[in-house]
Subunit: 150 residues, 2 copies
Amino acid sequence: MTDPQPAHEIEAVFRQKGIPFTRQRRQIWDFFAGADRAATITEAADALRGEGVGQATVYRTVQLLSDLGLLARVQDGRGEICFIAPPIGHSHPLICGVCRRVVRFDGDGDVAELEARLAEATGFAIYGHHLEIYGICPSCRAAKEGDHGE
Amino acid sequence: MTDPQPAHEIEAVFRQKGIPFTRQRRQIWDFFAGADRAATITEAADALRGEGVGQATVYRTVQLLSDLGLLARVQDGRGEICFIAPPIGHSHPLICGVCRRVVRFDGDGDVAELEARLAEATGFAIYGHHLEIYGICPSCRAAKEGDHGE
DNA sequence: ACTCCAGTTGAGAACGGTTCTCAACAGTGT
DNA sequence: ACACTGTTGAGAACCGTTCTCAACTGGAGT
Ligand SMILES: [Mn+2]
Ligand SMILES: [Mn+2]
Ligand SMILES: [Zn+2]
Ligand SMILES: [Zn+2]
């Protein structure tokens, strides 16, 4: 439940919509799906530069995957915009502010009541939310304590 | 409780830290505090261009105010990065995806239990969160229905 | 197999938001 | 008045992102 969708399932989504799933698109998907932490577009472009994927294609494909709901945009501890391949279904990221490792969770139960109260109180028609939680992962905590100094 | 802090209270924060509260910094604060909706840095720079505030100063000051926790970064319906002057105390934004009007609320009660569960389950040391809720405000909804078409 | 064709790709140019430079300026203390 | 420190802003530089357009790809039709 925390593993991202394999490429062949993504390919099915593409086919169903009549969108070609090219070699480059697979490589870009694999880059994000294979990472256990959030990555920036620049990092993806750099990693795939030597693999026969142009940077324009990386930008275009990240945009495409985001539009299809197959990539989620988050921000790391320093406010950098990163992307992650979410697992099947709806979830939210718990992000390590140091190494950007991501653990997904489902927090909708907690937010649903809140949204109902807000809709009632404000008259807004609520259509979405954005919830990220930040922390320091166990291994980064250990590394920090090993660090002599604060 | 939903009004932003007046400039003289901000000035007190600056003084207490020994940071000059210049004319330009006041103008930039007033721009964000006076708006009832999220605004981009570019919009602030454009609005203050003729008022004797350079764009470099706008960027520097938004950075400074954010560092001091006096401005919050959010994103609008199209993913644009905007800033808002939060009211006294901790809160979260409910943002209209059409006009970017912002209503603040306190959702920490709902998130606290979730965070405790996550800390327990993952071993992360949680230090913060980012929660935004998106909707369409009553007036934009009315405008949309008045619109003939979907 | 050959052609057709709409969609995709990538090198490089263009673009535009953000940051940097540095000389002028403002404020404070002596 | 003077020195000193921090701020400001016009313009240049920077760099991440988007655009251009010719070459390419792959599927459909014949
Ligand atoms: Mn959710
Ligand atoms: Mn909160
Ligand atoms: Zn970590
Ligand atoms: Zn609205």
